[in-house]
C-alpha cells in the first residue's frame, strides 16, 4: 500500500478532543490515542471534556461560573462576569489568538477568574500566555473575568475591537444577577454597544444551599 492510500489524522489541526475514540467505534481499531507529551498535552485538557484539569478540579474546560452562584456568591449585584470562549463553536483556537484577547482585556484591569485553566497559563497583569503553548491548538479556551458594572461599556468595546484581530471565532457570555423581573441593566448596556443578547439563557433558579458546617471563604 502506498502512503497516498493511507488516511491519517492531521496532527497539526487535531485538538486531541478524543471523540474519534470515545464517541464512535472504529470497526478496524485503526484509530488510537498516541501518548501526549510536552506542550501538546495541553490540547487534551482544553478539548476533551473527560480530561480533568488539575487546577479547577472539575472535568471540562471551564469553571462552575454562575451554575452555583446561589451558593458561591461569585457574582453579586453591580458586578458582571464575562467569558470569551475562543474557538467555540466548531472552529478551535490557537493560544496566540487567546493571548490577543487576554492582553486586550488585561489592559483594562479586569479581575481574571483564578480557578479558570486559561488564567493558570497567564500573567494576569499583562495577559501574556505561557510562550511554550502559544502554537498549540485547542477546541476552545475561555478567557474569564469579573468587572464592576461601570466598566462594561469599555470592556465590550475592547472585545469588539479584538474580535477583528483574531483568526478564529469566540462565543461571548455575560453573567449578571437578576432582579425580581428577571432583568439586568447589563442588557441595556450590551444592546447600546451593538450586542444582541440571545433569547435563550442559562438561569440559576436559586435552589442551592450551603451544606451545614460549611462557610464561604
Amino acid at each position: 500500500m502506498n502512503d497516498e492510500d493511507v488516511c491519517q489524522v492531521d496532527l497539526e489541526v487535531c485538538v486531541e478532543c478524543g471523540i474519534c475514540i470515545e464517541g464512535w467505534e472504529c470497526p478496524t481499531g485503526a484509530i488510537y490515542q498516541q501518548k501526549l507529551t510536552g506542550s501538546r498535552a495541553i490540547r487534551s485538557v482544553f478539548s476533551n471534556p473527560l480530561s480533568k484539569h488539575p487546577g479547577t478540579g472539575i472535568t471540562g474546560r471551564g469553571t462552575e461560573e454562575m451554575k452555583t452562584n446561589d451558593v458561591t456568591g461569585r457574582f453579586d449585584f453591580g458586578q458582571v462576569g464575562i467569558a470569551i470562549e475562543l474557538g467555540r463553536p466548531s472552529t478551535g483556537a490557537y493560544f496566540y489568538d487567546v493571548q490577543k484577547v487576554s492582553r486586550a482585556v488585561a489592559a483594562l484591569g479586569v479581575q481574571f477568574e483564578p480557578k479558570n485553566p486559561v488564567t493558570e497559563l497567564m500573567n494576569v497583569q499583562t495577559g501574556d500566555i505561557r510562550s511554550d503553548v502559544l502554537q498549540e491548538k485547542v477546541l476552545s479556551a475561555i478567557v474569564e473575568f469579573l468587572i464592576p458594572e461601570e466598566k462594561l461599556t469599555e470592556v465590550l468595546r475592547a472585545v469588539k475591537q479584538v474580535s477583528q484581530e483574531i483568526d478564529t471565532v469566540f462565543s461571548l457570555d455575560m453573567i449578571a444577577r437578576l432582579d425580581e423581573n428577571c432583568f439586568s441593566p447589563t442588557l441595556e448596556v450590551a444592546r447600546h454597544e451593538g450586542f444582541n443578547p440571545a433569547p435563550s439563557t442559562k438561569t440559576n433558579v436559586g435552589l442551592g444551599k450551603i451544606s451545614e458546617g460549611k462557610v464561604l471563604a
Binding site: 454562575m66 474557538g87 467555540r88 483574531i166 462565543s171 428577571c182 442559562k202 440559576n204 435552589l207
Partner: protein, 209 residues
C-alpha cells in the same frame, strides 16, 4: 464551561429545548452529594426526558437511565436532563422546590419561559448567563442550520461533518430520529436534544439548507 449556552436558532425553534441541570459546588455542598444527585436525576427521569446524564455518567444513548442514576459519584460536576415541554419544566421545578435537595439548579432555555415557570411555583431566578453572540472570523463557521444542531453539544463533540453525513443518510431513507440519536452519543454531558435535532436534520434534508 457554559456548555448549555449558545444553542443557536431562531426563538420559535427553541420553544422545545430546555436543559435542567444540577451541580454540587466544590467544597460547599459536594461532599455526600451523590444521593441527592441520584434523586434529582430520578425525578427528572419521571418527566420523560429526551436525554439524561452528565460528564461522569454519560447519556441515554449510551446507557440506560437506571445505569446513569446508579453511576452518580460524589463530584462537583453537572447532571442534566433535556425536555421539550414547558409544562414539564414547571412540574420539575415544583418538585425540586419541595424536595429541598440543596443542589444548584440551572435551566437553559428561553428566558421568558424560564421566568414564567419559576414564578408559577414561587421561585425567584437568581443569576443569568446571557449569550452575546459569536464574534471574530465567522466566515469559518459551518452553515447556520448545521450549527443549530452542533451547538446542542456545547463542548463541540458533535462535528459539522457528522451532521452533514446524517443529512445525506436521511435523504437516502434513514429515520431522522435514529440519525439524531447517533449524533447524541458523543455528547458526553447528555444535553443534546434529539427531538429538535431530528426536526432540523429533516428540514436540512428537505430544503438543502
Amino acid at each position: 464551561m457554559t456548555h448549555s449556552l449558545h444553542r443557536l436558532g431562531p426563538k420559535e425553534d427553541l420553544q422545545d429545548d430546555f436543559v435542567v441541570m444540577s451541580m454540587p459546588s466544590k467544597g460547599i455542598n459536594d461532599e455526600g452529594s451523590a444521593p441527592k444527585v441520584k434523586r434529582h436525576l430520578a425525578l427528572l427521569n419521571h418527566h420523560n426526558p429526551v436525554n439524561l446524564g452528565g460528564l461522569k455518567v454519560r447519556n441515554l444513548y449510551m446507557k440506560s437511565a437506571q445505569e446513569i442514576i446508579d453511576g452518580v459519584p460524589d463530584a462537583p460536576s453537572t447532571f442534566n436532563g433535556v425536555f421539550t415541554n414547558q409544562g414539564e419544566i414547571t412540574k420539575i421545578l415544583q418538585e425540586l422546590k419541595e424536595e429541598e435537595l440543596g443542589l444548584s439548579v440551572v435551566i437553559s432555555g428561553l428566558l421568558e419561559t424560564t421566568k414564567e415557570c419559576c414564578h408559577k411555583v414561587g421561585l425567584q431566578p437568581h443569576t443569568a448567563n446571557f449569550s452575546l453572540g459569536i464574534w471574530g472570523k465567522t466566515e469559518k463557521l459551518p452553515e447556520e442550520r448545521v450549527l443549530s444542531v452542533t451547538t446542542m453539544c456545547g463542548h463541540g463533540m458533535v462535528a459539522a461533518n457528522a451532521v452533514r453525513a446524517m443529512v445525506e443518510d436521511i435523504k437516502r431513507g434513514k429515520d431522522p430520529r435514529k440519525a439524531a440519536e447517533e449524533l447524541a452519543r458523543p455528547c458526553h454531558c447528555a444535553i443534546f436534544n434529539v427531538v429538535r435535532a431530528a426536526r432540523i436534520l429533516q428540514e436540512i434534508a428537505d430544503t438543502g439548507k
